[in-house]
């Protein structure tokens, strides 16, 4: 087992889902992300597209797919904000790449590890967002790490419910 390469393990444990799950889940995540804050007094202290990106990147374990999915989700989020397009895109591209790269090396069936990863990747996404916005672009942005921490916890809680639900939708041989 110790000599098992990453590619071999990935080939063994790769998960497959119906095409509708691949297409509808990100779409629903984007729509809900845009729609739900209207009922939360405008406070979007969660990031559904990020959670979905992390999930599919972890379970598929194909870094290119995870990277692409993160980039698309991030760009779509940016497009809805009215801010510069690419800030969320960069953050989620990195998150998708890291999640799928880590997914090759860890046991993705372990729920605790997945939740811990979701929490850490949420914080990383926020850090990249701030870095790109402030340092790379030199734009003014007020920021609160407490809110980002709350957002990461909220993302983890969403993952707690969403991941088992999506697990049930996978195609079993």
């Amino acid at each position: 087992m110790n000599t098992m390469s990453g590619d071999f393990r990935r080939d063994l444990e790769i998960r497959r889902y119906p095409i509708l799950v691949y297409t509808l889940t990100p779409l629903v995540a984007l729509v809900l992300q845009a729609w739900l804050p209207r009922f939360l007094a405008g406070n979007a202290w969660f990031d559904l597209p990020l959670v979905v990106t992390v999930y599919f990147a972890l379970v598929q374990r194909i870094p290119i797919q995870g990277t692409l999915m993160g980039a698309v989700m991030g760009l779509f989020e940016d497009a809805l904000t009215g801010h510069a397009i690419g800030v969320n895109g960069i953050a989620k591209t990195v998150v998708g790449f890291l999640a799928s790269s880590v997914g090759i090396r860890i046991d993705v069936d372990n729920h605790t590890i997945r939740l811990g990863l979701t929490f850490l990747l949420s914080l990383l996404s926020s850090a990249i967002y701030v870095a790109v916005y402030r340092v790379l672009l030199g734009l003014r942005l007020e920021w609160s790490w407490v809110i980002e921490l709350i957002k990461s916890v909220a993302n983890t809680l969403i993952a707690l419910v969403l991941f088992p639900t999506l697990d049930r939708l996978q195609i079993r041989d």
């Binding site: 779409l27 984007l30 729509v31 992300q33 845009a34 729609w35 739900l36 804050p37 209207r38 007094a41 405008g42 406070n43 979007a44 202290w45 870094p63 290119i64 990277t67 692409l68 980039a71 760009l75 779509f76 989020e77 940016d78 497009a79 809805l80 904000t81 009215g82 801010h83 510069a84 397009i85 690419g86 800030v87 969320n88 895109g89 960069i90 591209t93 990195v94 790449f97 790269s101 967002y129 790109v132 790379l136 672009l137 030199g138 734009l139 003014r140 942005l141 007020e142 920021w143 609160s144 809110i147 957002k151």
Partner: protein
């Protein structure tokens, strides 16, 4: 060489995507004359295309959800929950009548104002045409206060049009698509609206902070600015017409930037409910004259003003007649000493109190008043019950205490 690309394909894809996005970001940012970077307000064709795709993907489901919600709410409110509807209608009708009268009264002032403005070669712009729209979605980010409305260029919307509600301003149209538009709310960090404080007449720029509160930034500290002061649009930004309500001053904070000592940020409580927007109005035209609908309303008010004013005049006449018939306590036409109140022959004056059987020093007009310093001893011949304890330090009662004073004749 082939093995290199295959071996590092994951990293190469990552780097390619990152570089592409960084280049894309670089073209969206420009340096201002103040030496600071800012987001280009005009999106390039590529950026606009991405926004259009995102809108095309997300807006239809949002619209569907919104329509379903609206339909169920309509079903409930218009067919099921009809309690107090008649009463509400009556009250609304009364309100309309009252407002029409007020409008007719204000019309004269407005016309006079227009005449004076014409003399001064200054033209006030009025909201001439609006398009009602429903908010169907948000940006989905707490860093962005952008929301989507269900009207676009098909309804004549254009970028930089003002968006308001009946309560106050909301934001401006940022991006317009055929059937939807993105609105940048006034509490977004990248927004900017020219405002003025109603009392102190201090002008400033309104924009949002990190937690979505609108604030007037970068104004010099001024003791006159107090919480509760109204904030209005200044009209200088060429987006919002002048004088629209923005909100009230909530609190004053020091400018957080270290190199701006002496400047303050004024946190504003917005007049419009920015967090719970359903229906908004997009101002699609402002003119120096009233709109057709406004003129129709004014004509109706004018027409109604006649009978209503006549009815009010009749009421005033009836009141005057009644006042003449009823005795008054004070007649403005009579000198003070001949007022009906002092006239003993006037039958309308209330009966005077009966004379005391056993007058004492407290009896009005009584002659047997106790001398100062007599203590609380009752005078001989007076009733014991009348000899109540009094303050010995109290001054002596006047001779004609209890009776109306007459002014001395000159």
């Amino acid at each position: 060489m082939e093995s290199f690309f295959i071996r590092y394909r994951n990293v190469l894809v990552l780097l390619t995507l990152l570089v592409a996005q960084i280049v894309g970001l670089a073209v969206q940012v420009r340096r201002t004359s103040f030496g600071r970077n800012s987001l280009d307000p005009q999106d390039g064709p590529g950026v606009r295309l991405i926004r259009l795709w995102a809108s095309a993907v997300v807006s239809p489901p949002e619209r569907l959800i919104h329509q379903a919600k609206l339909g169920s709410a309509t079903l409930w409110s218009q067919y099921i929950d009809l309690r107090h509807t008649q009463q509400d209608n009556q009250e609304l009708q009364k309100t309309i009548d009252r407002l029409r009268l007020e409008q007719a009264a204000l019309l004269e002032d407005a016309k006079q104002g227009q005449r004076l403005q014409a003399l001064l070669n200054f033209q006030e712009k009025y909201i001439y045409k609006t398009v009602a729209a429903q908010a169907i979605g948000s940006s989905g980010s707490d860093q962005s206060r952008v929301f989507t409305i269900d009207k676009g260029s098909d309804f004549g919307l254009k970028p930089d049009m003002a968006v308001i509600t009946a309560d106050g301003i909301v934001g401006k149209v940022r991006e317009v698509f055929p059937s939807t538009s993105q609105v940048l709310a006034i509490n977004d960090q990248s927004s900017g609206a020219g405002v003025i404080l109603e009392t102190t007449r201090i002008r400033g720029i309104l924009r949002g902070n990190a937690i979505g509160q609108p604030q007037i930034v970068g104004i010099l500290a001024d003791q006159r600015i107090q919480p509760g002061e109204k904030v209005l649009t200044a009209g200088g930004d060429l987006i919002f017409p002048r004088g629209l309500p923005v909100g009230v001053v909530e609190k004053i904070e020091r400018d957080p930037e270290p190199d701006r000592d002496g400047f303050i940020d004024v946190i504003v409580k917005p007049a419009a409910h920015l967090d719970r927007l359903d229906e908004v109005l997009v101002i699609t035209a402002v003119e120096a004259r009233f709109s057709t609908q406004q003129q129709l309303d004014l004509a109706t008010s004018e027409a109604l003003k006649g009978p209503e004013a006549a009815a009010i005049e009749e009421q005033k006449k009836a009141s005057a007649i009644m006042a003449e018939r009823l005795p008054g306590l004070i007649d403005p036409n009579l000198p003070p000493d001949q007022q009906p109140l002092l006239d003993s022959s006037n039958p309308s004056i209330g009966a005077r109190p009966p004379q005391a059987v056993h007058p004492d020093r407290f009896t009005p007009g009584g002659a047997s008043q106790a001398a100062p310093g007599s203590g609380n001893r009752a005078e001989p011949g007076t009733d014991k019950k009348a000899a109540t304890p009094v303050n010995p330090a109290a001054p002596p009662a006047p001779q004609n205490a209890g009776t109306p004073q007459r002014k001395p004749q000159p």
